[in-house]
């Protein structure tokens, strides 16, 4: 080869290697674009419809029921503020004392508000649950989002699997039931993303229920060697029956990941029997049970991202006392989960960011339904139901308050890009053009 040809060929090769995209070992097509702020994110979807007044504003019964002198903070793990001193009904019940009169002791030495970033007045994009939950996960406003269908726009799980190269067991959605559209939140039906990039999911209170134990709990423990021929034959059969992308109906784990998930399910049933599950000190509602199983998933998989949904506060449609109790417990279990990560999962301790945000608020004015204390209930449909807050704490996140009641800053669609930012893939996610155009990473608003 003469010198001229050599220079021509090597120039072409160099140019091609720069221009052409290539597969990284992780399976990604493109390199990450930003720095990684933490290795793990836990998103607590503090759902069910939370009024600003009883949560961040600490008004307890003063605004909602007009009980003078009955203001106070019933969410001590999340927010600062003294507890109410009048008409205490939100705690646990002790024999001989009025129901709910014993508040649950605070778990965290320092409230999340004092440890991280608080956006006290965020704008929700919908007063409905499912659109609100979709908004949290997709960063899109969810306009025209139907019920009982997957989100129309990609979820943060799909963005992360596609752009950050996460495997399926790196991404988890822990739903609190199979009702409504909850089990559909682990993936969108967007043609460029979809289930092939979806997160693993448990509707944990169902998976690990008595029925779950009956249906799954007696399964055999196969060794990996036992399973090898099964997967070999199955993969052969599946290759002869290829599905188009829109026919894929399940998350795609590798054979090893599937085996790990099956072993995990069995181990949870075994722990249930042996009474060895780590659990919040007060475990008396579905939210607490769901968070308990979320902690098990964290311990086993150390996922990059886990989103857990809670929603007991939605009882506020007809029972205000129950709502207060659920709100107090939601604070308790969120604090417990954070504490559990720090104390019991060394791989995630000090290397995790937790984000907490409701999916929507609740009305300013009550409906006419009275509960056992003659307190009025609240629905979610008015302007007040678009008022929410968010908290973020953990690795590299310092105490800051952004915005105020008088000067709201941020939108609920900011959560998804914030998570993308944490994992260093904000640019490709924003460039997908599929998020709310006004959505912005919270890190860019500090």
């Amino acid at each position: 080869m003469n010198r001229k040809k050599f220079i021509q060929k090597s120039s072409l090769a160099l140019g091609g290697s720069i221009v052409a995209p290539y597969l990284l070992p992780s399976g990604r097509l493109f390199a990450k674009t930003g720095s990684v702020k933490a290795d793990h994110v836990v998103l607590v979807m503090f759902a069910g419809g939370v009024r600003q007044q009883e949560s961040i504003l600490g008004r307890y019964l003063e605004d909602s029921q007009g009980v003078l002198g009955a203001a106070g903070n019933i969410m001590p793990n999340l927010f600062e503020g003294n507890a109410p001193t009048k008409k205490i009904v939100y705690g646990t019940s002790i024999a001989g004392l009025p129901n709910g009169s014993e508040p649950i002791p605070k778990l965290l030495t320092q409230s999340m508000e004092n440890s991280g970033v608080l956006f006290p007045e965020l704008r929700a994009l919908s007063a409905g649950h499912y659109v609100g939950l979709s908004t949290l996960l997709t960063g899109n406003t969810g306009t025209a989002q139907g019920l009982r269908v997957r989100p129309r726009y990609p979820t943060i799980f799909e963005y992360l699997r596609k752009h950050a190269g996460f495997k399926a067991t790196d991404t988890w959605f822990i739903g609190n039931g199979i009702g409504n559209s909850t089990p559909l939140l682990n993936s969108s039906n967007h043609p460029d993303y979809g289930l092939q990039y979806g997160a693993n999911m448990f509707a944990a209170p169902v998976t690990f229920s008595a029925s779950g134990r009956e249906v799954l709990g007696n399964s055999k423990t196969y060794t990996r060697a036992d399973l090898e021929p099964m997967y070999y034959i199955k993969n052969f059969l599946d290759n002869s029956f290829s599905l188009s992308k829109d026919q894929i109906a399940s998350v795609s784990n590798t054979d090893e990941e599937r085996t790990q998930i099956k072993d995990f399910i069995k181990s949870v049933f075994a722990k249930q029997q042996a009474g060895q599950l780590a659990m919040p000190p007060v475990l008396d509602n579905g939210d607490a049970i769901n968070v308990m199983y979320a902690a098990e998933v964290l311990r086993e998989f150390k996922p990059k991202i886990l989103a857990v949904n809670i929603s007991s506060v939605d009882g506020c449609h007809s029972n205000f006392t129950g709502y207060l109790q659920s709100l107090h417990r939601a604070d308790h279990i969120t604090g417990w989960l954070w504490q559990h990560i720090q104390n019991n999962i060394p791989e995630m301790s000090g290397n995790t960011i937790m984000i907490v945000a409701p999916e929507c608020g609740r009305n300013e004015k009550p409906n006419p339904i009275l509960d056992q204390n003659d307190w009025l209930a609240f629905d979610h449909s008015d302007k007040n139901a678009l008022r929410v807050w968010s908290l973020m704490l953990g690795k590299g996140v310092y105490r800051q308050r952004v915005g105020s009641e008088a000067k709201p800053i941020g939108r609920l669609t900011d959560i998804a890009p914030t998570i993308a930012d944490i994992f260093g893939v904000l640019d490709p996610v924003m460039q997908s053009g599929l998020l709310d155009p006004l959505a912005k990473s919270q890190f860019l608003q500090l």
């Binding site: 249906v215 099964m230 034959i233 599946d238 002869s240 099956k262």
Partner: protein, 165 residues
């Protein structure tokens, strides 16, 4: 006069051409055996819903119908798991642990692998295997002692094709 001769000549020509075209049919035999013809490739386009999948699977394995209560519980539990392969594999494993599934023994499988493969395709896919499928499975089963009927059934019951009809 000229016309009559022309017409007569044309008639003779056409008649002889017609007669000449008739030939006694010959029976040609190539020495190929007669065979029943069936579609060897699946043409399934409709996905079974959760209840259909569970109900068909249960009936297939136990040769009796699942109770409505059991069906309801199973459907909910499977729906609560994101990876349906995981859910289905665990369900099957649970069924196999009951010991009352109606299936051939490993010895029967190995005594006539051809028949086992064909019967398994018919049982799960409601079709005959293609020659390629048959050859692959026959070779794999005969070469690997680790292959059991349970594993073959699990592979078929959790395969994509079994999710469709």
């Amino acid at each position: 006069m000229h016309n009559s001769i022309k017409q007569f000549a044309l008639f003779v020509l056409l008649t002889s051409a017609l007669l000449g075209a008739c030939k006694k049919e010959q029976t040609i035999v190539f020495g190929v055996n007669n065979m029943g013809i069936s579609e060897d490739k699946s043409n399934k386009t409709k996905k079974k819903n959760g209840a259909e999948y569970i109900s068909i699977l249960y009936t297939n394995l136990y040769q009796k119908a699942i109770s409505p209560n059991q069906l309801y519980k199973t459907q909910n539990v499977l729906y609560s798991i994101g990876d349906q392969d995981v859910a289905n594999e665990m369900l099957l494993s649970n069924y196999f642990n009951t010991g009352s599934i109606i299936m051939p023994s490993n010895a029967i499988m190995r005594s006539d692998i051809d028949a086992f493969v064909v019967n398994t395709f018919k049982r799960f896919y409601l079709r005959y295997p293609s020659e390629g499928e048959k050859a692959f499975l026959k070779q794999y089963i005969s070469k690997s002692n680790a292959v059991s009927v349970e594993m073959v059934y699990t592979a078929f019951a959790t395969s994509k094709e079994y999710q469709y009809y």
